[in-house]
Every structure is written in C-alpha cells, then in structure tokens.
C-alpha cells in the first residue's frame, strides 16, 4: 500500500513533468531551439489560472484562460523574438531565453506583486480518498487523470492529424517539409504556441498545490531538461515514458532512500546523506543513460 501510494505520487509528478517536456522536446527537436524560457510559460500559466480562478470563482475557467493565454504568449513570443534566433547558434538561444526568464519574473512581480498567490482547489476535488487506510488527496488523482488524457490527446494529434503528420515530418527534415510547400513559419509558430499552452496547462494544474510566485519555473525547468535528455530529444513518446520514469525514480528515492540508508549506516549520517543522495538520483540516472545510449532511450526514428 505504501508502495502503491508512492507510485501514484511518482505518476502524478511524472505527468506534470510530461506536460512541460512535450512542448520543450518538440521545439528542441524540430527547430533545434534551446528554450530556457519554457519554465516562465509554466509560471505565467500558474499566475493566469490563479488570478482568473480567484476573480471568477471557477477553477476550470482559470485553466481555460491559462491555456489560451499561454498559447497567445507563446505565439507572440515566437513571432517577436524567437523566430529571429533560429539561424543563430545554441549559445545565442541560451542567452536570449535566459534574458526572457528575467523579463517574465520581473513582469510577474510587477503585475501580481512579490507575495505568493492563493489558489483554492475546486470544491468538487477538495478532499481525500481512502486508499486502504491512507488518505490520498483527491486533487492528485484528478491531476493523474487529466495528465493521462492530455498524453492520449497528444498521441492522437501527432499520429492521426495532418498537423501531427507535419510535425513528424518536420522532426525528420525541416528543409524538405518547407520545400514541399508547407508554410514552415506558421508551423513553427503553432508548434511553439502548443508547447507554451501545454506548459501553461502544467502551471495551472500545479497552482493549487504549489506556491504561485515569480521564479517558480526555474527549478522545474531543470528537471524537464533531464526528462528530455533521457527520453531522446524530439520524441514526444520518449518524453512521456521518461517523464514517468523520472517522476517515479525521484519519488521513490525521496521516500525510501533515507530509510534504506538508515539500515546500513548511523541515523545521523543517513539523515544528512539521504535527502542529498535522493535529489541526486535523477541526475545519476541521466548520466547512466547518456553513457549507455547518448541519443536517449526512446529517440525519434530518423
């Protein structure tokens, strides 16, 4: 039962990571663009959801607003700034998008203030489920269901629609897709917008669980990069499996590593080393994957 509960925790964390990683890996894989500002879109999603949910009293409206808002911000950002950077090298991407992180953080604290925002869980999902004696938050179940639904939606979109076909084609050979008369500019903008909307959705879903404040996007961005490196850059399927792996490994490490260490070494030492080692675990995993399969576990077929 303890294992089951921790698996659920890992699954929920993994699905939240997937929402972020899906957009990032597409942008990275297709446009070869390094977007450090992806975490800022997550933050904007959380802020938009929080303020709209608080003023309308309806969390679903907040989520819809975050989706629409981040789609708009993403497409605007692509047109105004990012599209000018495609032909530059990765270092320029990093510099420019790092600047955007600061821009968005400052924007958020100017618009919403430096105090963290409050978001209530919708009444319908507020409460716990009895999981064989353990009280498990209902909202986290809802996150799991919603995450799986979005993952299924992504699968359908990529494999069954024309847009998905273009995305897959673009991931293989962008120049050829352009040569065949597809408006690659529009495709890029849409892709970036969809990635931004998914990041915004992730932020909106996380808003009732986490502290909504400026700078909330950076810690999660780092883990998202780990996810796409493990999964294989450019592969949404890879991002899905790898997000789940990272979510579960991280959760299990935090839950059981200190206990396991306790059994082997003294309690004092285990207390100190446990959390440090647990937080290292996903990076160790990444290092191992890089050594074994540098292209990632589920790399897109070329």
């Amino acid at each position: 039962m303890l294992l089951l509960a921790q698996l659920l925790n890992g699954l929920q964390y993994g699905l939240l990571l997937f929402l972020l990683a899906a957009g990032l890996t597409l942008v990275f894989g297709i446009m070869s663009f390094v977007n450090l500002a992806h975490g800022s879109l997550y933050m904007m999603g959380a802020y938009i959801a929080a303020s709209v949910a608080n003023s309308t009293g309806n969390f679903l409206v907040g989520i819809a607003a975050a989706l629409a808002g981040c789609l708009a911000i993403g497409m605007l950002l692509e047109r105004v700034a990012i599209s000018r950077l495609y032909d530059k090298d990765h270092l320029s991407h990093v510099l420019a998008t790092f600047g955007m992180i600061m821009f968005f953080n400052e924007l958020a604290s100017m618009v919403w203030g430096k105090q963290p925002l409050f978001v209530a869980i919708p009444a319908l999902l507020d409460g716990t489920v009895d999981l064989f004696g353990l009280q498990y938050p209902l909202y986290r179940f809802a996150v799991i269901v919603a995450g799986l639904a979005v993952a299924a939606g992504c699968y359908l979109m990529i494999h069954k629609t024309r847009l998905g076909m273009l995305i897959r084609a673009g991931a293989n050979n962008t120049a050829m897709v352009g040569a065949l008369g597809i408006n690659i500019k529009l495709l890029n903008a849409m892709l970036f917008g969809i990635g931004a909307a998914l990041a915004g959705l992730s932020g909106a879903v996380a808003a009732p669980i986490l502290s909504v404040q400026a700078g909330m996007g950076e810690p999660v961005l780092i883990v998202t990069f780990v996810v796409i490196v493990i999964g294989g850059i450019g592969s949404v399927k890879g991002a899905f499996y790898s997000a789940l792996i990272v979510g579960v490994v991280d959760t299990m490490g935090r839950a059981f590593l200190p206990l396991a260490l306790n059994a082997v070494i003294s309690r004092e030492l285990a207390d100190a080393a446990g959390p440090a080692l647990a937080s290292l675990l996903i990076y160790l995993l990444m290092a191992a994957v890089l050594a074994w399969r540098p292209q990632g576990l589920f790399v897109a077929k070329r």
Binding site: Q6, Q115, Y136, I209, S211, G215, R254, R267, D271, P275
Partner: protein
C-alpha cells in the same frame, strides 16, 4: 496601479532623502536582503518595515537626516559579500541593516566584525554568531535561529506529546531549529526527516509521514517552502487530524497565500500582528494602511531596527564617527527603544533577550490571523551566550 503608486512614493522618499543628504552630515544606512528572486517577498518586508519606521520618525534617525542605500543579496553568499564590501568600503555606511539569511550572515561574519560597522540582522542569528564568533558591533534584532524551536519543544513537552514526527529543510537553519526543539523536548522522536532546500513537491515525504506512528508533528518550512508544504499537508488531510506545530512556517508573508489551509496550525514566533501592546498596534495599523497587507515578522523586525537606531543615534548625539561608541550605544539602546514585541534587550552576546510565543492560526471573519496560544519561554536567553567572550 496602487502598487505602482506605492512603489513610486517609496522611491521618491528615498530619492528625497538622498538629495537632502548632501546638505549636511547625516546617518548613512545600508539596507541589504533578498530583494529579487524567490525570496523577494521576504526582502520587500525588510524595505517596507524599515521605510515605515523612517517615515514615522520624520525621515530622521535620532534627529539626523538619513540616507538609505539598498543592496540586493539575491540570497546568494557571493553576491551578499559584494554588497557588504560595497557598503563598508565605498558607501562608508554608519550601519548595515538586514544582512539577509543565515547563509549570507555566515559568509560575512568575519568581514563585518573586522570593519567595526554596526550591523543588525533582521532575519536570523546563526549559532556561531551568538557564540564563539560574536562581535561587539554585530547584532541580531531577530532571534537566535533555534529560539522558537526551543519554545515549541518546551510547549510540546509540557503538553505531554510522546512521539513527535520532525521535518525541516536540509540546511544549517533547519538543523539548528530541530536541535533547539530537542533541547527542550525529551520524549521519543517518531522520525527526523530532512528535505532538499527549496523543494516544491512533498508528496513522497507526506505519504511516509501519514503512515508513520506519531501523536504530533513539528515542522520548520520558512517562506514559500511553507506555502507548498502546508498546502500539500492540508490536501492530504493531515492538518485537522494530527496536531501540527511549526516555527516560521506560517506568518504574515505567506498567510495570504495559505488562507484556510493553515487553520489550526500552531506557529512558534517572537511576534505576530495580533500581539497586544501600544507600539505594535500603532505599527500594524500604519503598515496595513500604507501597504494594504498584513506585515510579516521581517517587517516587524526591520521596523524595530529603525526604532533601535533612532535611540542609539540620539545617545551619541548624532556623532556616529566613533564606531565602538556607536556600537555600545546600540547595545544600550536595546533595552530602551520600544519594540513591537514588548519586552526586549540585548544579552552580552548581542542576541535578544525576549519572549517566545506560540500562535494558533484562526479565522476572524474573512481575515486569517494568529491567536496567542502560549508563551512557553519568557525573557529567554539563548544557549550559546557562554561561548561568547563579550561582557
């Protein structure tokens, strides 16, 4: 819009103070803290508390005009060191107020001590600063880091809890807090769990906690970590089912983001807006009127720091050039200025002697606030004073 107008008025008053500074000899203050980044809400408290006191004192300290220079340490020790060096060497300030969190204080303790410049921490007091590395010019107007941990430890011992589950972030202040707690709480500890600093999701640890045998919980999660932790603890149905005790986890800076999630949580602190004394009522009323929010602990401490300096500057008749005499005046002023916490004075190691309270989070109408539950330690001195050579 309101916020912008507020910010403008603060900037204007600082600019005006800076202009008038050139007219005559004056008191120069360096105000440092985490003014940007994830802890910026805490840093804003320093600025607002200190500015409010200055405004109430007519822009003067001890009758002298004041220049305030701000330095943003971004909660990073290396940046904090640059800020301190600039304050000491280039700005040649008469006093440094703020000093940021314990990591910044520890990185600069030596530099501050050597400079002889009056330095007043508003957000902490790491144990070395209270003990062997104490200095005549380095003060904490806040508390030794483990003070409130001691108070809650005593409270939980007195209440007869037999098996307490402990949690804190894995860094110096977290360990100090747990050690302070265990200095007074002598019964069994169900588990002692340390989490990564600035962790955002606690689902794994909370699941472990739910399944462990315990009769109460004691946690220390300051700032936005507290928002994340308490929200998730509430969502798992723990708050309300098991008594939750904490220090600095729930206060004015994050209560607006927590609202009813924190109801029933007991928080150890030296101050709360609900504390009843004339000085505090005046402070809270003016703060709420000016900034349209409830002040937090750091705002109260920064406000106290300005009031302390006001008395100290008056004691040296505005002549702050003799650093040792000014530091001695600050120490003596500790027992004379009117603190929003009520009774206050400096111990021989320049740490506060004060009361340590426990507040329970309650709802009054639409307003969430702390209600005084107990004062486990009154007129309390820290445990490190004997290691400090100062008299």
């Amino acid at each position: 819009m309101n916020k912008l107008a507020n910010m403008n008025s603060v900037l204007c008053s600082i600019a005006l103070a800076a202009l008038s500074a050139h007219a005559q000899a004056d008191v120069k203050i360096g105000l440092s803290g985490p003014f940007s980044g994830p802890m910026a809400a805490d840093g804003q408290e320093y600025i607002d508390g200190f500015s409010l006191a200055l405004e109430q004192l007519g822009g003067k300290l001890g009758g002298q005009d004041v220049t305030v220079t701000q330095g943003d340490d971004m909660m990073k020790p290396e940046i904090g060191s640059q800020v301190m060096r600039k304050f000491i060497e280039r700005d040649r300030v008469d006093a440094i107020v703020g000093l940021g969190y314990s990591n910044i204080i520890m990185a600069n303790l030596r530099r501050l001590k050597d400079s002889g410049v009056v330095s007043i921490a508003v957000a902490g007091g790491p144990s070395p600063m209270a003990g062997a590395q104490c200095a005549p010019n380095v003060f904490s107007i806040a508390y030794p880091n483990d003070g409130s941990g001691e108070a809650i430890g005593k409270l939980m011992q007195d209440k007869g809890y037999k098996n307490v589950y402990l949690m804190a972030p894995n860094y110096q202040a977290g360990k100090d807090m747990i050690n302070g707690f265990k200095r007074w709480y002598k019964n069994a500890v169900a588990a002692e769990v340390y989490t990564q600093i600035n962790q955002t999701d606690y689902s794994a640890e909370i699941t472990q906690l739910q399944l462990a045998k315990k009769d109460a919980i004691f946690v220390f999660y300051p700032g936005s970590m507290g928002v994340n932790f308490i929200k998730q603890l509430k969502q798992a149905g723990v708050i309300g089912a098991v008594p939750v005790y904490s220090t600095f986890t729930v206060d004015g800076t994050n209560l607006p983001a927590l609202r009813n999630a924190a109801l029933g949580v007991v928080s150890g602190n030296t101050w709360n807006p609900s504390l009843q004394n004339p000085q505090n009522e005046k402070f809270v009323r003016a703060f709420e009127a000016k900034y349209k929010r409830t002040p937090g602990t750091y705002a109260a401490n920064a406000y106290d720091a300005a009031m302390l300096l006001d008395v100290a500057v008056r004691k040296v008749k505005g002549d702050t050039s003799n650093k040792a005499a000014f530091a001695a005046a600050v120490k003596a002023a500790g027992a004379e200025f009117k603190s929003v916490r009520g009774r206050f004075s400096f111990n021989s190691n320049n740490m506060p002697i004060q009361d340590y309270h426990a507040f329970e989070m309650v709802q009054e109408g639409s307003h969430f606030t702390g209600r005084l539950l107990a004062t486990p330690l009154s007129n309390h001195k820290d445990a490190y004073v004997s290691a400090c050579p100062l008299k």
